[in-house]
Amino acid sequence: MNNLNFDEFKQAISDYVGVAPEEITRDTDVYDDLFLDSLGLFGLGSEITETFKLNVPLSLVASISKVGEIFDLLNEKGTLTED
């Protein structure tokens, strides 16, 4: 576990997609509610892994669509980046 804070995570997503943090919950769908396509999801994945200095496999990011699932993935499977 990486003990990430969901509010900080929400803020990072909000900064990237330009949707207000109060509109983002665990159930927010990245496709339907954040208007990303699958490539946009990889872009978001790259951005948040850089923000939190954690690596997660892109293939796992590609298989999910809820903000809560991405948070859990980062929290549970994220490994620290080298720099």
Binding site: S14, V19, D37, S38, L39, L58, S59, A62
Partner: protein, 519 residues
């Protein structure tokens, strides 16, 4: 009359009737079912008055139904017109009139794009179509009389008998749609005979066999993804697509069905290679990995060639040429996969603005000959004259818009694009089209769209916007505004507000843009 795809399908249906021609997830279509079902759908279209050269729009995701609609139209000499199922109402409002589609086949939705809603906002109130045939539940089909469910359509109009149309060599088999720079679509007239012979030659070059199974990462509604699949079908093999790309399922499928050929873009390959336990998947059945649509980094090619011992073929070209200028690890190992060479059935020129060949060592525009080069841009003779050159032997050459360096020994090295095209993953996005949509936003005074390198998707779309007055506009606002108007892949990845868009005699000065960012 020339050779036609149905000669091959009919033969395979007789020789190997139960062989699967197309598999998408758990849904399968055999060669004999292909012949039976295209007869029903083709006869239904005919009975409804659709015939030679009539246009049949298809706005559906990868599916068995997509494939049947496409080939049913070809079977009766009509011309299928695949449209991107991510298309919003703004795109569809241009595509239907530009292609002169008489009927359309649609599904309810694709991902978050509600196709029925996008079409029913236009048809019949603004655009007339004879019928919109919906592969959807009755409960979501609009009540208007021009909408009909596919089941009812086939039951009411279809029969088991349907003649097969004999096309002339240059008869347009289908129309392929790509985005135009101003939002006006470019419509490609794909020639029956040339498309077939080029795909068959490529399948032969790649040594595809009837017992091969090919899994494609690109889509059926993309001319390249469709064409590469046909290279396998013309050998009597099996092709597989996914409803939408899922890396884990992709790898599991390769393992389960012992796939021999995989087709990827660089982005898809990066995602696949990032899979935990990638090494534990049994990929030993894979003989060839076939790349198209994006620049292929050498590291990725090396991983497939050296680590996985898979032959890598990278193609450059475009939907207009049926691709076919290649880098092939079996022949070109050790060189960069952006160094391409022609094949025996293709030819290459590197030309300057006056269409003269440039000397060796210089950069020019890549011009490609294949027999499958489109005959014209449908309804656009000016663009056709600009992009399609005919030589004294009557061969059609296509000016690709790719800039290449002309090297010795017939090698051309990819050097970039000549126009403002953003290559986002496997998708081409015209900066001007995104700007045009941004400028319809009531709070935007000016906009400039450009690309930025991205480690995974190659290039991302960056929109610099000059808001009206004190308006504050975020990417989220833009995404909501674009929703239903343009495809999701055209939504800017980054939105940067600026004090002004610097221009010089009307042209955006991109080099000064970043200095104008709000701090």
């Amino acid at each position: 009359m020339s050779k036609k795809f149905f000669d091959y399908y009919s033969r395979f249906a007789q020789e190997t009737p139960d062989k699967v021609v197309l598999r998408i997830d758990d849904n399968e279509l055999t060669y004999s079912q292909f012949m039976e079902k295209t007869a029903v759908l083709g006869s239904a279209l005919k009975k409804m008055g659709i015939g030679e050269d009539d246009k049949v729009g298809i706005c559906m995701p990868n599916s068995i139904e997509w494939y049947l609609v496409f080939w049913s139209a070809v079977r009766i000499g009509a011309q299928p017109v695949p449209m991107d199922p991510q298309s919003g109402s703004m795109e569809i409002s241009k595509l239907i009139p530009a292609t002169t589609s008489k009927v359309m086949f649609i599904t309810e939705k694709y991902r978050n794009n509600n196709i029925i809603a996008a079409v029913s906002a236009l048809v019949p109130s603004q655009i007339a179509l004879s019928k919109v045939i919906c592969f959807a539940d009755d409960s979501v089909i609009p009540q208007d009389s021009c909408y009909i469910s596919a089941d009812k359509f086939m039951a009411e109009y279809g029969s088991s008998e349907c003649d097969i149309y004999d096309p002339e060599y240059l008869h347009t088999m289908s129309l392929a749609c790509t985005s135009g720079s101003t939002g006006t679509p470019k419509i490609l007239s794909v020639p029956s005979g040339g498309f077939l012979s080029t795909q068959e030659d490529m399948g032969t070059y790649l040594e595809f066999r009837s017992d091969d199974v090919m899994m494609l990462g690109m889509t059926l509604y993309h001319q390249g993804g469709f064409g590469m699949g046909q290279q396998m079908v013309l050998k009597g093999g099996t092709v597989m697509y996914q409803p939408q790309f899922n890396p884990i399922t992709f790898l599991e499928t390769v393992q389960k069905y012992k796939i021999n050929i995989i087709q990827l873009t660089s982005t898809l390959a990066k995602v696949l290679l990032s899979t935990p336990d990638f090494d534990k998947y049994d990929l030993s059945s894979v003989r060839i990995c076939y790349f198209a649509g994006e620049v292929l980094p050498k590291e990725i090619a090396d991983t497939f060639v050296e680590k996985l011992h898979i032959r890598v073929v990278n193609v450059i070209g475009s939907s207009e040429t049926c691709t076919m200028v290649v880098w092939d690890s079996a022949r070109d190992a050790g060189t960069d996969p952006s160094d391409f060479r022609k094949l025996s059935f293709t030819d290459v020129r590197v030309i300057d603005e006056k269409h003269n060949d440039v000397p060796e060592g210089e950069v020019g525009e890549l011009c490609v000959y294949t027999d499958g080069v489109i005959t014209d841009y449908f309804g656009n003779p000016e663009l056709s004259a600009e992009k399609i050159l005919t030589d004294d032997q009557g061969r059609r050459w296509f000016c690709t818009g790719d800039l290449v360096n002309k090297l010795p020994n017939g090698i051309v090295r990819f050097a970039g694009r000549s126009k403002r095209i953003i290559k986002r993953g496997g998708n081409l996005v015209h900066a001007e089209e995104v700007e045009a949509c941004l400028l319809t936003h009531p709070l935007i005074a000016a906009a400039a769209v450009t690309d930025e390198p991205h480690p995974v998707i190659g290039q991302q779309i960056v929109a610099y916007i000059q808001p009206k007055g004190d308006a504050r506009i975020t990417r989220g606002d833009i995404a909501k505004y674009f929703d239903g108007k343009l495809s999701a892949y055209k939504v800017p990845d980054k939105v940067v507000p600026v004090e002004e868009i610097p221009k010089d005699i009307g042209k955006i000065q991109f080099k000064y843009l970043r200095k104008k960012e709000y701090k």
